[in-house]
């Protein structure tokens, strides 16, 4: 524990500072603070999951610009599967399966076919948009809403309780995924191999690691997370589906991934920051503290992305082999 603290001094201090300030505001205005933080989390959740998809892919050396399409396709499948079967669980399950399928496609296209990874991702986006807009049928509805699960004791904590511990299974799942991924990536055998494949594939290959299989496997598995994000969006966050439903979240997630320096926890912090900024702006707008046309509030995350990237893109270093198909020399 003490070793953990000394090694991660900065993030730990920052977290404490944020919590401290949050409680400061909470005692000043508990209703608004809770509502902003609730907004923050629900806004950030799909971005966090989608950023994990990007992180797994890029850490293994594959750019995933198709997260948007993977999420859209999964959200579509999850919603209509749930509507058709009358089971949310079935919907979520099939949504994740759809994500796996879309992930596997990217893996095979990028690795086996040595297709340009960016083009492959864009193809996923366009194909997902094509399928979901053609097969979209209006007027369907979900059998039920996703239940909240109150965690005993923890949910009684002021502020943190309602924000983090009285949520749907998607929230808990996401938080667990982030923590597990952080640990796996940096301390497990899988993580060591994954990072080797993303940094210097031929070194991994000559050390007896199957670069192709590792990449395809990781990108496909990451697809399940994109599927989870899609299922969350249509089943939980919205409760409905429409064309172009993911609204660019898959791309914001890539910016968040870079902002978080390809670290799961860093990306989560970045996503929460994005959510908080949007929540704060909406709240201020609603309270008429500021008077900015709604369109400019809508623009905020995109402008923030550009600003953030233009200051961080050169500073943080991506995995060295990202975007390059691995070819054996010959």
């Amino acid at each position: 524990m003490s070793k953990f603290l000394t090694r991660h001094q900065k993030p730990v201090l920052w977290t404490l500072l944020v919590v401290f300030i949050a409680y400061g505001f909470y005692f000043w205005d508990s209703v608004r603070t809770t509502s902003i933080l609730n907004f923050t989390l629900s806004y950030a959740l799909p971005l966090i999951l989608a950023a994990m998809v990007g992180i797994i892919g890029e850490r293994s050396g594959v750019v995933n610009i198709g997260i948007e399409g993977q999420m859209l396709f999964s959200a579509f499948v999850a919603f209509f599967a749930a509507a058709a079967t009358g089971s949310l669980i079935m919907g979520a399950f099939l949504g994740m399966a759809a994500g796996l399928l879309a992930g596997a496609f990217l893996g095979i296209a990028a690795v086996r076919w040595e297709m340009d990874q960016i083009i492959a991702g864009v193809v996923i986006n366009i194909v997902a948009a094509g399928i979901t807009s053609f097969y979209y049928t209006p007027g369907k509805s979900l059998p039920a809403i996703v239940p909240r699960i109150k965690i005993p004791v923890l949910s009684e904590i002021p502020l943190l309780g309602p924000v983090f511990f009285n949520k749907s299974v998607f929230v808990y799942l996401t938080l667990i995924i982030v923590v597990v991924l952080q640990i796996m990536l940096f301390t497990s055998k899988w993580g060591l191999r994954t990072r080797a494949v993303g940094e210097y594939p031929s070194a991994a290959d000559t050390a007896g690691i199957n670069v192709f299989r590792t990449r395809i496997f990781n990108v496909a598995i990451a697809g399940i997370l994109a599927g989870t994000a899609g299922a969350y969006l249509s089943l939980d966050a919205a409760g409905w589906f429409e064309r172009g439903f993911t609204a660019g979240r898959g791309f914001l997630a890539l910016a968040i991934m870079i902002f978080g320096a390809w670290n799961p926890l860093g990306a989560m912090a970045a996503a929460l920051f994005f959510g908080f900024a949007s929540g704060m702006a909406s709240q201020l707008q609603a309270d008429e503290v500021i008077n900015i046309p709604q369109q400019f509030i809508n623009m905020l995350p995109y402008v923030m992305t550009l600003v953030v990237l233009s200051f961080s893109a050169g500073k943080v270093r991506p995995p060295a082999a990202v975007g390059q198909p691995y070819k054996k020399e010959g």
């Binding site: 301390t187 940094e199 210097y200 991994a204 050390a207 007896g208 010959g330």
Partner: protein
């Protein structure tokens, strides 16, 4: 007892080339077999098949008398084959221990056990006298130490057959001698060693047997006791070769390049050149000797405008050229043969003709009011292909389809065609066959005799010593000594390259 490794009648072809034609090779436990051949002779292809990196088209491989299918490096590693690659296969951002353990990780609580790995590496490096700190990141290590890590990687996997692919290319003469010692040590402990090289001296010093390849064919097998350098060279090339470059004594004239205390950062933002000063005069070849990674690349890029100069000055013909763009430097009369011709020197998907005007396309002859002049470009191309003996079906052929030697001739042709005042040639003969090497060396000497100043950077110490009129030794981003070619012998230069002094 069956030999450790037996390769029988193995062939392998790639689109357009027969890389290995019916090769057989035997290695016994405890012996060092040198695999000798020029660039492109098929040495690397052969050992990569033994290491499972690609499958043979035909033929059989036996290990300890058992026929084996080496479908992946993993299969080879499991059978006790280990390989130290010519281009180090190390992840720069990983620690030494992580690199050594990668692919053969030990686990604790289901996670990678970094502590165990560091202890194991420390123990191994102690046992074999290969000193290295297991916790340091690879990117922070000098090249010689990185090679130790490569060897440790193989030892960690208990290799019984050790393949070393051109391991001495990056070492000083003294480090080379040490490595040859280490190889003998392995043999003494019963390990079979395959040593790939094209340096005859090393073969004679370490090998028990020598197998020679030429153009993908096995041309013979001999023992060091039964031959000498000239004999080996003849086997390797198929004719007697002139090992020395013939040239007159230099007649240096006015100073063309003057570098005053330049400071340049490397790719990792650390100091790459540390107040380096150097001068090159018209009519002389100054050769830079040094272990790779001591600032050679940064020096070339700083002169040619490809890297920012933080402090200090560069003058070309007494004109300040500090931080000029590559275009401006070219206009000042500087030709640049880049170290990595595939990456920097050529556009593989362009025709030979377009590549021959790659940095001259704006010249009035080739561009009128922004429109490219196709005929003059073709005319120049036909002339240069002829003059520099580039072997190609036509000037419309893509540069990417040429052989290594012809690609390099293409670059040399482009850079020398217009009579530059300064030629900066980096690794001008890397990966080039002997015939082309002779040709390129003669071209460089000719450029000097025509009055150009030549700065030659090469990792091959023999090339520097053979071509240069003056040798400047670079170490840690500084020129540590300048010697007259006559006074520069291998040992002295080697010690300087390692950071020692001449005494």
């Amino acid at each position: 007892m069956a030999p450790l490794l037996e390769v029988k009648n193995v062939s392998k072809s790639f689109p357009g080339v027969l890389a290995n034609d019916n090769i057989s090779l035997t290695v016994n436990a405890g012996e060092v077999v040198a695999l000798l051949g020029e660039n492109g002779a098929g040495k690397s292809t052969l050992v990569k098949m033994i290491y499972g990196l690609y499958p043979p088209d035909s033929g059989e491989i036996f290990i300890n008398g058992n026929k084996v299918e080496l479908t992946s490096p993993k299969a080879a590693i499991d059978l006790g084959v280990g390989m130290v690659h010519q281009h180090f296969q190390l992840v720069p951002v990983f620690s030494v221990a992580q690199n050594v353990a990668l692919g053969a990780e030990k686990k604790r609580y289901g996670l990678y056990d970094s502590q165990q790995a560091e202890e194991d590496v420390a123990a191994l490096s102690q046992k074999y006298g290969l000193a290295v700190d297991p916790a340091v990141k690879i990117e922070d290590l000098p090249v010689g130490t990185q090679q130790r890590v490569e060897i440790l990687k193989v030892l960690y996997r208990d290799a019984k057959l050790l393949i070393l692919d051109e391991p001495t290319a990056v070492l000083t003469p003294q480090e080379t001698d040490e490595l040859l010692e280490v190889m003998r040590g392995f043999a003494k402990q019963g390990v079979g060693v395959i040593f790939i090289t094209h340096k005859l001296r090393e073969v004679l010093a370490v090998a028990d047997r020598v197998v020679v390849l030429r153009n993908g064919k096995q041309v013979g097998e001999t023992k060091p006791s039964e031959t000498d350098q000239a004999g080996l060279a003849k086997m390797m090339v198929g004719r007697s070769v002139v090992l020395d470059v013939k040239k007159e004594l230099a007649k240096p004239k006015e100073e063309v390049l003057r570098i005053e205390k330049i400071v340049v950062k490397d790719d990792r933002n650390l100091i790459g050149l540390n107040e380096l000063s150097l001068s090159v005069k018209a009519g002389e070849i100054v050769g830079i000797a040094g272990v790779e990674g001591n600032g050679q690349r940064e020096l070339v890029q700083a002169i040619t405008g490809l890297r920012k100069i933080e402090a200090g000055k560069v003058y070309i013909n007494n004109v300040d050229a500090t931080d000029s763009s590559p275009y401006q430097v070219h206009k000042m009369g500087v030709a640049h043969v880049p170290e990595d011709r595939e990456r920097d020197g050529l556009v593989a998907s362009y025709s030979i003709a377009d590549n021959l005007v790659l940095n001259r396309f704006t010249e009035a002859e080739f561009s009128k009011r922004g429109v490219r002049q196709v005929e003059p470009i073709k005319k120049l191309a036909r002339f240069l292909v002829e003059k520099f003996a580039v072997k190609t079906p036509s000037i419309e052929t893509n540069a990417g389809a040429l052989s290594g030697g012809n690609k390099q001739k293409l670059v040399i042709a482009r850079e020398l065609a217009w009579g530059p005042k300064l030629l900066v040639a980096a690794q001008p003969t890397r990966g080039v066959d002997v015939g082309s090497i002779e040709f390129i060396h003669n071209q460089i000497v000719q450029a000097r005799d025509n009055g150009a100043a030549v700065l030659l950077v090469s990792a091959e110490l023999d090339e520097v010593l053979g071509l240069a009129d003056r040798v400047a030794v670079i170490y840690a981003g500084k020129i540590v000594a300048e010697l007259d070619a006559a006074a520069a012998d291998r040992n002295k230069v080697g010690r300087l390259m390692a950071g020692g002094d001449t005494n």
